[in-house]
């Protein structure tokens, strides 16, 4: 058990790519927690996908030992936070487990949208913010300008802020000294009734669910009966300990400490982030504040592609869910795609990650359908239904009105792109709240946007139109009445339900046109003409035609060279195998994702 006044609990917060994970790596290395030779780049990001994308999805935490300049030994608990808009709630719970946050700002880039978003989250939790300027080894670093930016925008003192290069390992000790000096030691009563905050959990095949927790009051040890306050369920603790970064079993965890608790819990969904752990026989009178059940915001259909087994997809989805309480699914049937699943995600990135993991970790071939938000459909008889599957939208005559989710979006970007991004937001039915100059050259736009406009391709469009310099953060604010219609796609006069989507009336035509044009290009020519139509109800609003081919023959077969010809036929046949048959029309599987992609030339 560590002395409470020698403990420092902190997170690192940053905009994506500003060097959070690299700094975390260097800190582990510097404190000898991970030997240099064992160091994989970005130790805390342990999923391949995270490494590739340079973002943290599932957080990990580590207990470090540090002998400070004052001669004292400190225990530092570094709590890594997920780094994307979709995981705001998870970030806020991680921050709630800390007393301070190291704010990493790229000295070449300055403050970005997520820097601010994360700072606000940290401020909400009353954290001490320790600013650090990274990448000062780069020629384009402008530490003074960026310091001014931090002071102006965030209003925190940057006097003495460490100037570091995480990549080169420069200034790491300065960061640790600043943490020890500025971040307060945890308060809390070790003799009080147990109150511990769950800020993450994962499933382990042997131990069951392993909870990451911050102990605020009291203590916990093996054999204790714990109670999870949101569900009122009790479990016997089988092990407690901390990560360094591998698991180290401990006798107990007590107030101020951060560690793990295993109690044979079966599903991650039973030990939700934000919940409070207490003891069953001497429970705390009230849980810690801020518990929120993770709520999917975006839904899409996931179906086995041709030749893929339904059972294999089901197994994989179940496995992923055990570890991800925010990911939900239910069976869905499509006339076009057969048996599959309707899946709910926190946001688009979350969706992409799950889809990629299904494809890569589980080696599955799947088709995803248009993502949808959740609409509140008010019926004439007074009932309200939540609809996130276009096929379930009631008949227009039965509906009174539909409400759609609206988000508050903060977009930060260099000023030269303001015009084109304002156009983009306007095109996506955005309402500008206000605009502020962050610095002479950078602008922060505050918008209200319908979430259904954000989930298609908004982020890609933003990145493309700002050459990658634009950044986005958004949060749900309210539901709002809206004219939502169901847009159907017909191939050769037959509706393909997997292409249906719910869109705002004003966007139906442009969306319909985009999809029909895209499908015209992607559907191969057939022996007959294939009309591609977009319709609302019975009314066709856009159309295109895949022309019939009149010729498909190689006249020459020269000098007995059969092989070249055969290879060509085999290649063509291979291409056909990846097609999906709808009536008499063959559609390549890429078509389903292609109609969702942002197109610069549109």
């Amino acid at each position: 058990m560590a002395k409470q006044d020698r403990i420092r609990n902190f997170s690192i917060i940053a905009h994506i790519d500003h060097g959070k994970s690299t700094l975390a790596d260097r800190i582990l290395e510097y404190t000898g927690t991970v030997a240099n030779r064992d160091m994989r780049e970005q130790f805390l990001d342990n999923m391949d996908l995270e490494r590739e994308r340079g973002i943290t999805i599932k957080l990990q935490t580590s207990r470090l030992h540090y002998k400070a300049d004052d001669g004292e030994d400190y225990v530092l608990n570094l709590i890594d936070t997920p780094g994307h808009v979709d995981f705001t709630y998870e970030v806020s719970r991680s921050l709630a487990a800390c007393e301070g946050a190291v704010l990493v700002v790229d000295a070449t880039q300055g403050v970005e949208a997520q820097t601010l978003a994360n700072v606000y989250l940290a401020m909400n939790e009353d954290l001490e913010i320790v600013p650090v300027l990274n990448k000062i080894d780069l020629a384009s670093a402008e530490p003074d300008r960026v310091k001014d930016e931090i002071e102006d925008l965030i209003g925190i003192d940057t006097e003495g802020a460490p100037l570091i290069s995480a990549k080169e390992g420069l200034g790491i000790r300065d960061v640790l000294e600043a943490v020890v000096k500025h971040v307060p030691a945890p308060a809390g009563n070790a003799d009080g009734r147990l109150k511990a905050l769950i800020f993450d959990s994962y499933y382990d095949n042997y131990k069951g669910v392993v909870i990451y927790a911050r102990i605020f009051d009291g203590s916990v040890r093996r054999g204790d009966m714990i109670r999870l306050m949101s569900t009122d369920r009790d479990y016997e603790v089988t092990e407690v300990g901390w990560y360094a970064p591998g698991p180290v079993e401990a006798k107990s965890l007590s107030a101020g400490e951060v560690g793990y608790i295993a109690a044979s819990i079966k599903q991650v969904a039973d030990a939700r982030v934000g919940d409070t752990v207490t003891l069953a026989d001497t429970p705390a009178d009230a849980p810690l504040k801020g518990y929120k059940k993770a709520q999917p915001m975006v839904y899409c259909g996931i179906f086995p592609a041709d030749g893929e087994k339904y059972e294999a997809v089901k197994d994989a989805i179940e496995k992923l869910q055990v570890n991800d309480a925010a990911f939900q699914f239910e069976p869905e049937t499509s006339t076009a795609l057969g048996y599959g699943f309707r899946c709910g995600f926190l946001g688009l990135l979350h969706m992409e990650i799950i889809v990629e993991r299904l494809e890569r970790e589980f080696d599955l071939s799947i088709i995803t359908t248009s993502p949808s938000v959740i609409y509140e459909v008010y019926m004439k008889d007074g009932r309200m239904e939540l609809i996130h599957n276009p096929s379930n939208l009631p008949e227009p005559d039965d509906m009174d009105h539909v409400e759609e989710p609206i988000v508050k979006a903060d977009i930060m970007l260099p000023k030269e792109y303001v015009g084109s991004i304002m156009d983009l937001c306007q095109d996506r039915r955005g309402v500008m709240l206000h605009m502020e100059y962050v610095t002479e050259n950078r602008v922060l736009l505050h918008y209200e946007l319908p979430l259904n406009e954000v989930i298609y391709d908004f982020f890609d469009a933003l990145k493309s139109k700002t050459r990658g310099y634009g950044s986005l953060d958004y949060e749900f604010i309210r539901y709002q009445q809206s004219k939502i219609v169901k847009l159907d796609i017909l191939l050769n006069k037959e509706q393909v339900d997997a292409f249906s989507m719910l869109v705002h009336e004003s966007k139906a035509y442009s969306r319909g046109k985009f999809v029909t044009e895209k499908l015209k290009d992607i559907i191969p020519r057939h022996q007959f003409e294939v009309p591609v139509q977009a319709s609302i109800g019975q009314k066709v609003i856009a159309r295109s035609t895949v022309k019939a081919y009149r010729k498909d023959v190689i006249a020459k077969c020269y000098g007995g060279d059969i092989t070249r010809k055969k290879k060509l036929l085999e290649k063509q046949k291979e291409g056909k195998k990846r097609m999906r048959q709808f009536g008499s029309v063959e559609v390549p599987q890429e078509a389903f994702t292609a109609v969702l992609k942002y197109d610069d030339n549109k």
């Binding site: 022996q527 081919y549 009149r550 010729k551 498909d552 023959v553 190689i554 006249a555 020459k556 077969c557 020269y558 000098g559 007995g560 060279d561 059969i562 092989t563 055969k566 036929l569 085999e570 063509q572 046949k573 056909k576 195998k577």
Partner: protein, 408 residues
């Protein structure tokens, strides 16, 4: 051409005659045509031609042992060491570009190395402007009894577009010269779908070709192959390609016109007067054995498909037969079955289903029933007695049919 045989082939399709076809490639050209993507090169150096001919002769001898083993049993029974050959085809490139002496040397090697039947079909490809009566006389005296003339077109515009070196009158002279020395079996190649040619131009080309009374006419559509100067020109927007509709219209015009003139389309691109079908080319479509010699030449014998190297230097410096080989593929049973079908369907007579069953000991309908019925339903194939063949629409969309028979 095909004889029904009660003998079951040991493996693959039984050869109809059991005799081999020989293909000899001469890659040299005066100038490479703009559309050409064959193995050919603009080499006029006689020393190179001579060295090449010697290599071909070497290869003819070197392959003999391997080929002796692939003769059908009934020939083996004659206890004849030299493989029996009943067609020889000298293609290019431009075989008529090199000195006649080199050609006759090569043919002499063929005759001394192989047992060429008395009635063998011996063809050489010639390009107008590279031959005269004297050259034909030499050819005829070395046993050549069939020529395939690269006429392509009789229009100044089309010939210029294609980058040919000759004019229409050269083609006429070429045919007359061949006849003068007694070569009566003459085939003409024509190209359609040339930009600017139009339906009228094509009809004139067909009429001009027919007026020369050949025994065989091949019609090829102009294909814009990647890597050719024609393709580069196309990509630069130098011309507009002929539409698929016009291309097919020209094809069917030709099919009708040639029929009126007494030519029967017996393969996708080949028509002939009755009995004058190219016996050599029929081997390709009937899974009969053939052996290729020279640069980039292909072979099919003994269950193997082989290709020679396409690098002239590599061929000329090869020290053994294996140095000349680019790759060898051992056909599996499913390779043979799908080739039997998709090559056989190139012939307008189609494939004989009972023959498929007897060759492979498998039931065609069991293997391919589903796809075949679908193709019949789509109007691309028709069944007539024991034969399965392309319909008129199927001729236009043949690849859509062939694809279905390529086994995974």
């Amino acid at each position: 051409m095909m004889t029904t045989s009660d003998e079951k082939a040991p493996y693959g399709a039984a050869p109809a005659t059991g005799a081999l076809g020989l293909y000899i490639h001469i890659p040299f050209c005066v100038r490479k045509c703009r559309y050409c993507d064959y193995t050919s090169c603009e080499v006029g150096d006689k020393d190179v031609h001579f060295a090449y001919a010697l290599k071909v002769i070497y290869e003819l001898r070197a392959k003999r042992a391997a080929l002796a083993g692939v003769q059908a049993p009934r020939f083996g029974a004659l206890d004849c060491e030299a493989p029996v050959v009943d067609t020889v085809y000298i293609g290019g490139g431009t075989p008529s570009f090199i000195e006649a002496g080199f050609v006759t040397e090569i043919l002499d090697a063929v005759y001394t190395t192989y047992r060429v039947t008395d009635d063998a079909e011996v063809t050489i490809e010639v390009n107008p402007g590279t031959v005269d009566e004297e050259k034909f006389r030499r050819y005829a005296s070395s046993g050549i009894n069939r020529i395939s003339v690269g006429a392509q077109s009789f229009s100044v515009g089309s010939l210029a577009f294609l980058g040919r070196i000759h004019q229409a009158e050269d083609t006429v002279k070429c045919v007359l010269d061949a006849r003068a020395v007694g070569i009566e079996n003459i085939s003409l190649d024509l190209i359609y779908g040339v930009p600017g040619q139009g339906r009228d131009g094509w009809e004139k080309d067909l009429a001009a070709a027919a007026s020369l009374s050949p025994s065989h006419i091949s019609i090829y559509d102009l294909t814009i192959e990647e890597g050719t100067p024609l393709h580069a020109d196309y990509m630069r927007g130098g011309f507009e390609a002929v539409s698929e509709e016009d291309d097919r219209l020209m094809y069917h015009i030709a099919k009708g016109y040639l029929a009126e003139q007494g030519f029967r389309l017996y393969e996708l691109s080949n028509s002939a007067r009755p009995g004058k079908e190219s016996r050599h080319n029929m081997k390709y479509w009937s899974m009969e054995p053939y052996a290729g010699f020279g640069l980039g030449a292909h072979s099919y014998f003994g269950g193997l498909r082989l290709s020679n190297t396409s690098e002239l230097d590599a061929y000329l410096t090869a020290e053994s037969e294996s140095d000349m080989t680019d790759w060898v593929h051992e056909n599996t049973l499913s390779d043979d079955m799908s080739e039997f079908v998709f090559l056989g369907l190139r012939r307008t007579s189609g494939i004989e289903l009972s023959r498929f069953n007897s060759c492979f000991g498998r039931d065609f309908w069991e293997l391919y029933g589903e796809e075949t019925n679908r193709l019949i339903g789509r109007g691309l194939l028709e069944k007539s007695g024991d034969a399965l063949r392309l319909t008129s629409l199927g001729l236009d969309l043949a690849n859509s049919v062939f694809r279905e028979y390529v086994l995974e």
